[in-house]
């Protein structure tokens, strides 16, 4: 039998009479539906993880690549002068679109997660931060550092490359892990369906014997099992996907709380990816059952 979409469709719409030849097996039926539902539920989260980390990696990569931070550490009496001198240097540096000193409130907000909301920032020797926005192909960091060293001795330029790369790498690794998890889920589903199909074939050895006696080909016998297991996996995966999508939908949104974990979910058209989970489960089941059935039928001489 050559697997093709037409063949898959034929199996779905199928031959109810052939399907009836194999008695319903409650245990394997429930096992298959449950496995497919559980795996689809997990697949929704793995997919959400992959997409969320993908978005995060892209955002970090893009946003951090276009910005830099200048940190000025100076005695309090020189702070304003050095800040102004630094802004003057930055405003005349090619590749820099804009630069602005962060306000006390903004710096306080940055430190708030670590020190709480009542931090007396005014009384502490906190460095002044200047945010730099790049344009075009960006600025020359070596040249800028040299100019700053001469004109603003207390300034330290951080172009983010030091910590941007490992963050993006971590996000990309997390995205890869999500896809690997999806592959593992598909492989586990295939393994479980194979075991269930083998159990069903073993339990129906007498049925197979009778069908062969009356002239049924291996493909005819296999079809009854393939159709049944494919539909069960499809149905179970649809249930699991709906439940998983509901669970993801109920997670707090990024806007409400902020942070990475709350960004776990789907945005806009990404929800359409979920449609592929039951389809994939059906296909995995189709090929796993087909392979198991034909292998077992070959063994049953």
């Amino acid at each position: 039998m050559k697997p093709s979409l037409t063949r898959v469709f034929e199996l779905m719409t199928g031959d109810p009479q052939a399907d009836r030849a194999v008695p319903p097996t409650g245990f394997t039926a429930r096992l298959t539906v449950f496995t497919a539902a559980a795996m689809a539920f997990l697949a929704v989260f793995a997919l959400a993880l992959s997409l969320a980390t993908g978005r995060l990696a892209d955002r970090w990569s893009e946003e951090l690549a276009r910005t830099s931070t200048l940190r000025i550490t100076a005695p309090e009496v020189q702070m304003d002068a050095q800040t102004q001198a630094a802004l003057n240097v930055l405003s005349t540096t090619p590749g820099i679109a804009a630069a602005r000193a962060l306000t006390v409130a903004e710096q306080k907000a940055l430190l708030e997660p670590w020190f709480g909301p009542d931090l007396p920032l005014e009384d502490l020797p906190i460095p002044q931060l200047i945010e730099i926005f790049e344009e075009g192909s960006g600025y020359d960091p070596i040249g800028l550092r040299a100019r700053l060293q001469a004109e603003v001795p207390g300034a330290v330029l951080d172009d983010h490359t030091r910590w941007r790369a490992p963050l993006v790498k971590a996000a990309n690794s997390l995205r890869s892990l999500g896809w690997i998890a999806l592959l593992l889920i598909a492989a586990t589903t295939a393994a479980m369906i194979t075991l269930a199909a083998q159990a069903a074939l073993a339990a129906n050895a007498q049925v197979v014997r009778v069908l062969r006696l009356v002239g049924a080909t291996d493909i005819y016998i296999a079809r009854a099992f393939i159709r049944r297991f494919t539909l069960r996996a499809l149905g179970g995966a649809a249930i699991g996907t709906v439940l998983g999508a509901g669970a993801v939908w109920l997670l707090p949104s990024t806007d409400t709380v902020g942070g990475f974990l709350t960004g776990l979910g789907f945005i806009g058209a990404q929800w359409l990816w979920l449609v592929f989970i039951p389809i994939l489960a059906g296909l995995v089941s189709f090929f796993a059952t087909r392979s198991a059935a034909l292998r077992n039928l070959r063994a049953l001489k």
């Binding site: 009479q17 052939a18 009836r20 030849a21 008695p23 049925v207 014997r209 009778v210 069908l211 062969r212 006696l213 009356v214 002239g215 049924a216 080909t217 291996d218 493909i219 005819y220 070959r298």
Partner: protein
Amino acid sequence: MIELENVAYSYGGAELFSQVSLTLAPGSFHFLTGPSGAGKTTLLKLCYGELLATGGQVRLFGADAASLQRDDVALLRRNVGVVHQDCQFLDHLSVAENVVLPLTVSGREDEAAQNLDDLMAWVGLRDQVNQLPPELSGGERQRAALARAVIMSPEVIIADEPTGNVDWEMSQRLLKLMIELNRMGKTILIATHDFNLIRAAKSQVTTRVLRLTDGRLQQAGAEL
């Protein structure tokens, strides 16, 4: 049609029979007899491709059985109706569904409706079509098995102890059906150790009686 030439069959190193030659010509009627354990059922299985001979050659409808693929054997079985002593039904299907199963598996379900009524009337089971096989008596099961064996209008009917579990009256009824099939041109091979059945058949139709004993197949003698 079905030819066995110097066929041997061994199982687990022990030879069950050897040098067995048999030709089932179209329209012939054969009985195969012999003591229990002589290999009658095995010999029948060789005749419909369920087993492969360990020696000699089996030709089924002109093809060497040893060279047939499994699906070729399946297609070949559509030309051979088989009746087992234990009938081999699917107990979750109705009698009607079991009887039309050969048509179903060969994609000819549409012929079932037109053939089933006549066939069930012929075997006297018109009122039992919707029952499940376990609800039938021994004789009814055998007749249902015969109906299933002939629904594809096969050229050969092979029956393994079809009267083993039924009374004399029912065995006569089954024999009558077999003889009617033979008169329609079907080739019949029945394995049995019921000599009364063989004698009853010989009085009505030309038969050839073979005896499988001590690992050899021979023409049955004076005991009949």
